[in-house]
Symmetry: C2
Subunit: 576 residues, 2 copies
């Protein structure tokens, strides 16, 4: 077979792994590499800047299972590095490919641009090593193809970002095409651990013994790739099921035994009592950051917990490492005899959030945080992706009941405001590709709905133009409350530093190049909001649309948020 | 005296050193710190995102001699880190202050948000160490004030960014107010080097012996803090003076013996011959990156070169390190007897760029790169700051003759597109403060003019809203040539990846909140451009205004740019 150029090889591998679009920004050390993107059958997204490109690749990766972003040496990669760190913290498998100067320039310490003018060419890769799971510098064509294969396998296995440096003078280096015949596999144990069957039996034994078992789904279930088995378990057991914020959207919420995001002592008291009364907690994919656990209050504290984690299975003091959790899950589902386990009958009364009709509050009243989320939830249709940016929307979307096959993004751990808008671009693109490939649960039409505050919107607003350029189906609901409200609740309620500049937000679609008849609307009162929600164009959206919801700057976010924040403040040692 | 809180102390120190405005973005680990900004007599800028904030602090620092940016742990600081690297590469003294979690959270490896959820709290400071000249983590109030003083001295001495971590629980720690009585000084040699007088004599000897001496001013003259003495030298010797791109704007261009940016073999042949015929080159602040030296072609190759550098004085093989260049310069100016040195009489014919009248090209013709810069130069008034973003504007502004007391920014080494717009916000703010303090050469009214391409504009456009919020006097001239033209010249002239999304650029001021009557105008032909340049509102600008200049996407940038780029391509080992 004819050999293949190294850049061609790299992009062919990405294409094999399901990537259809590559995010990024051109720069003079990656231009020749980019020549190989479209010939590999990939779509070039072309973002407005590198931070946004990497955020978008993260959103894409969380939906499609792998994403890629291409930047240039120094200036490009460092602009993206905050997003790469976020992908690490929250398990987005993003392949970060950096076009770097030709090798002899490194060796001669040439004072090229995009360096610190000191001849040092390894500073940026050292920085990348802090926030990626694996790094590789392609330097010798004899090993480069193998390095590509190895690092992509790492990316898939750990579901975390990896970093590849490709020198300009290696873009066209020839490698064997034969390798492409052997697909890259997600690494599995080389030998099945001998105690695997015992472990499955032990778990089943505990499940059969439990009198008040519950299921707790957290977000690392996604990198564990156990979502199908997990859904089967939830459906088969009919046990009361709760999620963390990170876990919301990973199991079907239309099931009777789904009860929403568990908020520990800050949520409904009946829910809290029920969870505390559990004698067995099956915990999937725990991710125990303070912000994902209501400051560690929503970690189920009932009886025994069996945790299926990214580092193995944990039962009490036992920690079974290096064990294939995915295999255990499928064994579990196969082996389980539901007639032998607890059947909740009659099913207990455990409250959950329900949608509210937009006509329920008095029409002339100002829109308030306490009800708006359950009303805005009426925008959601089966298969939609719902995104709540860090801030009040990130709390708000947790109250929204999701339709079948919806996915949800909320703030988890990294909490970098500005993330969610570019991530919506990436997620919407991934969603469209999956729909086109008939891989979106049979759904043929769905959209991405982004809920975002004004302060966050300002960070990365320009990525709306990428949504326009690629004609993505996105509704942006902008919460205009005149500043960083969530920060006001933490500290500085009246302080000027929590203000943001005042933009004319609804001019955004036009400014960013959308058709002049793009749907935009603004609401201050419940009646105005109802009119929007009843509008066909808000409901049946193709392309971009934008809705501004104006609320008071010190309107309290829903639920017991203030108490959570107070606790956070205390933990952080602030004098609030 | 009553003690002072640590954050108060830090901001008081910044204020003492001439900072009047602090850039940055609030975040929950810096909120209590920010309470101390305004009480310290400082203006809080409040940028749209952290990358922009740090770019703006860089622009501010290059004009005022010191800038500061405040971000929050992890998400904020990493978003800013590309700009900090640029400040390192190009000598902008930026103090990067990061609000970090309370100390006990580090010690207990608590899984806080804004971490990678792994208990590691030192990843980000290790990344910062790659791109800052000094780093300090305030951890113990017994030494914190001293640490602040030391690192600020480092920042001033090296004219490069430093990194300060301030834990939330130390914001209010008490330190002695007495310290503030002793100003921070830029470190000087503890003892005058014994050979200093000899060195000055030796330089003067060479100056007296020279028959065709020239002066070459490069950009590290600014961090050397020798600009006043350098100007005296240029004026007193009347020797032909050239600059690098980085050096342009650091000496007065209205002097007869100033001949613009030296472009080596790519510029005018007469200039090239004259420089090559020199028997002595006094070279100030050399910064020898490829992009600042026309791929090393514009480093004067005449006779002997005496270089005054940030690492000392170089003469042939001699490298005198650890020597106070500033002191040498003032000795030189004091000691020099101009009657003993070469006097050019008659003054030689050395061409230089002159302004062009807008009426010179045929009115109906499309605007072209070859003349547009010398025509746009008519916008410049004494004391203006002129900024040419990386790309065709960065080359274009090098042709513009500057009025008295102007400063210029062009691309130098870091070349991070997106830099120049936020930097214009910072520079314009610094300029306004200096005018208000009667420290802008007696000028009472001046503006900042930003020339920027469409691709670059899209990177960081939102910082226009910060210009609006602070009512800064800025003209934005947007070169709309439908994509990354400079990249097209390097590689991929027709490739889709060099396209950018099509925005309605002139809607920007309205979208970003400027008054509805903000001056905007667009020109495609020379006649349209002339009409704009004759408009009073374009000339006498207060506040923001915006001019779009539409040019063809493959219009060649001025001069011999393509040849320079070809050479760059060759050096980089690209298959163009």
């Amino acid at each position: 077979m004819a050999p293949v150029k190294l850049a061609e090889y790299l992009f062919a591998r990405l294409r094999q792994l399901g990537i259809e679009s590559v995010h990024g920004v051109p720069g003079d050390f990656n231009l020749t590499m980019l020549d190989h993107v479209e010939p590999a059958g990939l779509n070039w997204v072309g973002n407005a800047n590198e931070l946004n490109a990497a955020y978008a690749a993260d959103g894409y990766a969380r939906i499609k299972g792998l994403g890629a972003v291409v930047t240039t040496f120094g200036v490009g990669e460092l602009s993206a590095i905050n997003a790469i760190a976020g992908a690490y913290a929250e398990f987005a498998p993003v392949v970060h490919i950096v076009g770097i100067p030709a090798r002899q320039l490194h060796e001669t310490r040439t004072l090229m641009h995009h360096t610190l003018n000191d001849g040092e060419y390894k500073r940026f890769s050292q920085m990348a090593a802090q926030v990626t799971i694996a790094q590789t510098r392609l330097w010798d064509p004899f090993t480069s193809a193998q390095q590509v294969d190895d690092i992509l396998a790492q990316c898939l296995l750990h579901c975390r970002p990896v970093y590849i440096e490709l020198p300009v003078d290696l873009v066209d280096a020839l490698v064997s095409r034969d390798r492409l015949q052997t697909p890259i596999q997600i690494p599995e144990p080389e030998e099945t651990p001998p105690h695997l069957d015992d472990l499955v039996s032990k778990v089943i034994g505990k499940m059969e013994a439990a009198r008040q078992p519950i299921i707790y789904v957290d977000g690392e279930s996604r990198p564990l790739r156990i979502l199908d088995a997990l859904q089967q378990l939830v459906s088969a057991t009919k046990w009361p099921t709760f999620t963390s914020p990170f876990g919301k959207g990973l199991v079907e919420e239309t099931e009777q035994n789904y009860h929403g995001v568990y908020q520990g002592q800050w949520g409904d008291e009946k829910v809290h009592d029920f969870v505390n009364g559990a004698d067995l907690v099956l915990c999937f994919g725990p991710h125990l950051s303070g912000t994902n656990t209501y400051m560690w209050n929503s970690i189920p504290q009932g009886g025994e917990t069996i945790s299926f984690t990214t580092t193995g299975v944990k039962m009490g003091a036992e920690h079974h490492r290096d064990i294939p959790v995915k295999l255990i899950m499928s064994r579990l589902v196969e082996t389980l005899d539901v007639s032998k386990i607890k059947s909740y009958s009659p099913y207990p009364q455990i409250p959950k959030y329900e949608l509210l009709d937009a006509s329920s509050p008095p029409g002339e009243d100002m829109i308030k945080q306490d009800k708006v989320w359950r009303i805005l939830g009426n925008l959601i249709r089966p298969g939609d992706i719902v995104m709540g940016e860090t801030g009040t929307p990130g709390f708000g979307v947790r109250e929204m009941p999701l339709q079948k096959h919806c996915r949800l993004f909320t703030h988890v751990t990294w909490l970098s405001i500005g993330y969610m808008l570019p991530a919506a671009q990436g997620a919407a693109l991934a969603q469209r590709e999956l729909i086109a490939a008939s891989k979106w649960h049979g759904i043929t039409k769905a959209k991405t709905i982004l809920f975002i505050g004004d302060g966050s919107f300002q960070m990365t607003a320009q990525e709306m133009s990428t949504m326009v350029k690629h004609d993505l189906d996105v509704i942006i609901v902008l919460i205009n409350n005149d500043g960083y409200s969530i920060e006001r609740f933490i500290h500085g309620r009246k302080q000027g530093y929590n203000d943001v500049a005042r933009w004319r937000y609804l001019e955004a679609p036009s400014f960013f190049g959308a058709p002049k008849d793009t749907f935009t609307a603004s609401a201050k009162t419940w009646a105005e909001l109802r009119t929007i929600l009843e509008n066909d164009r808000a409901n049946n959206t193709r392309g971009l649309s934008m809705i501004e919801v104006v609320m008071e700057r010190e309107d309290a976010p829903p639920g017991q948020l203030q108490k959570v924040l107070d606790m956070q403040i205390e933990r952080e040692g602030k004098t609030a």
